[in-house]
Amino acid sequence: MAEIIMPKMGDAMTEGKVVRWYKKPGEAVKKGEPVLEIETDKVNLDLEAEQDGTIAEVAAQEGQVIPVGGRLAMISAPGEKPAGVGPRPSAATAAEGGGATQKIAAEGGGATQGGGAAQQRRVTDKKDSIKHTTGEYAEAIEMKAPRIDRTAPVSAPLRVVEGGRRRSSPLARKMAREMGVSLDAIEGSGPSGRIIAKDVKAVEGSRPRLPGQPGAPVLHEQQIPLSAMRRTIAKRLAESTGPIPHFYLTADYDVTNLMSLRQQMNEIVKISVNDFVIKAAALALRHHPNVNASWGDEAITQHGEIHIGVAVSTPEGLITPVVRNADQKSVADIAAEVRALAEKVKNRKLRPEEYQGSTFTISNLGAWGIEEFTAIINPPNVAILAIGTAAPQPVVVDRQIVVRDRMKVTMSCDHRVVDGAAGAEYLRTLRQYLEQPVRLIL
């Protein structure tokens, strides 16, 4: 059984049209006789039978468009039963089928030109081929492998575009949003009435910043020069406790709402408790730039960005890959990123820029069932959170014993930079985020 397929006649050709059949099923053909006429963008031509035989099947109607390689007809060899033609054979057998009826070039003979069954007998030129060609070229250029989207995801929480048609610079919009101020209330001094940063800043003074409001203060990197008292405290504490004078604060949080939220989220995307803690800690740092800082000989640097180091344990020791700008990422993004970083740690593919540059660190031994522990500060940070396991505990509420999920957090602070009260204030803000986790997704 031989197959006549739609041949590719040009490098951009993807399909052709059946114009008319010269033969019908059951009719005999001789080798070299035209069986049908096809039309491509460039030429009309006749497709011929390669061998003597009988038309067993006509697989396309006149006027039908068939893709390159598609079946047009089947020709049974003399003596072969034309009935029982099966479904289109796989490419491999099609090739064999084609080969069996193909002449192999012998002495004085020509090489076969074209594949399948195509040898032109009658060819007509098309005059208006250009417009067809353009379309097919576009198809030809289409990639045959799945396309990878390499554009970096813009990691931004949901932002509402404010002010309708008011013109404003991106910075001004960001500042206004963070201040909880509407652009409608601001006069723009830039070109075409564009509201720019200084216009928003001018309004800042007159609006109080409410605690617990969505968004948080803008952090700017600044240097706080050391006062004489601070230098003295630092010196004496360092002498007694080594280079970084540590002290520790423990807080016990009710994470029942957090666990419930996590359960709901896990139906959609896998998030761990620690991912929530990372986000909460980062958001809390916005209110406490004094904890998102580093000690220096001349000044304490309060950082303009929040990068959370996440302690990961490996056979060789502890390493802290960094989630940069964690305060601006969604919990889902943080989860994905921590997973990816942990994978890199496992495969020893973590690059220096991925474990350097943290401004604050979190270590979580909850998975090992540790209730509470003290962690050592990761220089040049000035604090670290040690997260214990989240577990159901009996607690008293309204004089009744109820079961709530509780989690202990121990904060280690560098006394040169963070005093007891400062650390405690941070943990109090952190409580808001951990015990009312809706704040994490505002």
């Binding site: 910075l171 001004a172 720019i196 940063a197």
Partner: protein
């Protein structure tokens, strides 16, 4: 450390690498007997002989193409283009061959060819002899494009090129050939590709530039500091491909405004790529659109006054800085 000129730094880089590695050779028009039109190769024919210092016919495509073939077979040829303007004639050999052979062979060969030469305007050489090429070559994957602004970078980047495995287009600024600067003496001093540097610290505006325009930007920054009390942070890109904009992003996140300065024409120039990338990556921190200072969109004229008008001047950089600060 010693003080030397940009020209001498380039010369030293080549001599040190030719001394160190016998596979390095140089070819170009009139570089041997004539000792080079900018005398960068003076004395080299005598020192290394005609096999390693090849005077070629005037045949840039021949020079670039044979260099690709040499590189594929294990040599490290330097092609000195008398000026980079002449390299247009070799465009196919550089863009269709040097840049692509590694890729379409599936990584079977290295093509460590260095094509270097002076570019830029300034001495009334007219339209065909006054162009700059960073956006032209920077467009093509497979090429490395360097555009040093200081003698130290000229030496360090050229040495990196001669120790690498890929084709490098080394764009020297003719106007900077005489400029002097501190250069490390260490014969293994190299500057890596794809690392920009902060040439000047500041908190008010970020200026991003490279090559000769970097020096113009620094001049403008000094004036702004003295005259207006505005502190510009100036970033020197050093290489255009690979392009390192991370320091620029950090800078713009801090200053909230950016001006990019390039020598050649604005349409489709390097500054367009830089400005788009900054906008994409630091959008929320921008208080003004990224501005571009570029040469006038005309072929370079001959008359001196017109030539000066066509080339960016620090005055234009200052005006752009004022605009992004809303101070004009």
């Amino acid at each position: 450390m010693s003080e030397k000129s940009y020209r001498d730094a380039i010369r030293e880089a080549m001599i040190e690498e030719m001394d160190r590695d016998a596979t390095v050779l140089i070819m170009g028009e009139d570089i041997g007997v004539y000792e080079g039109t900018f005398r960068i190769t003076a004395g080299m024919l005598k020192k290394y002989g005609p096999k390693r210092v090849i005077d070629t016919p005037i045949a840039e495509a021949g020079m670039a193409g044979t260099a690709v073939g040499m590189a594929m077979l294990g040599l490290r040829p330097i092609v000195e283009m008398m000026t980079m303007n002449f390299a247009f004639v070799a465009a196919d050999q550089i863009l269709n061959h040097a840049a692509k052979v590694r890729y379409f062979s599936g990584g079977q060969v290295d093509v460590p060819v260095v094509i270097r030469g002076p570019q830029g305007a300034g001495v009334q050489l007219s339209a065909q002899h006054s162009q700059t090429f960073e956006s032209f070559y920077g467009h093509f994957p497979g090429l490395t494009v360097a555009a040093p602004a200081t003698p130290a970078d000229a030496k360090g980047l050229l040495k990196s090129a001669l120790r690498g495995r890929d084709p490098v287009i080394f764009l020297e600024s003719a106007a900077l050939y005489g400029m002097k600067g501190e250069v490390p003496d260490d014969s293994d001093f190299t500057v890596p590709f794809g690392e920009s540097r902060v040439a000047r610290d500041g908190n008010d505006v970020t200026i991003v530039s490279y090559s000769r325009m970097l020096q113009v930007s620094l001049t403008a920054a000094e004036r702004m500091s003295k005259e207006e009390g505005i502190e510009c942070e100036v970033i020197d890109l050093r290489t255009l491909r690979p392009l390192d904009l991370v320091p620029a992003y950090a800078s713009v996140a801090k200053t909230h405004r950016c001006v990019v300065v390039q020598e050649q024409w604005k349409p489709f120039g390097a500054a367009a790529e830089i400005a788009a990338s900054i906008t994409e990556n630091v959008f929320d921190d921008l208080d003004a659109p990224v501005e571009r200072v570029a040469g006038e969109d005309v072929p370079m004229p001959y008359a001196r006054n017109l030539e000066l008008l066509a080339t960016p001047h620090e005055e234009q950089v200052i005006n752009a800085v004022k605009r992004v600060m809303y101070k004009s």
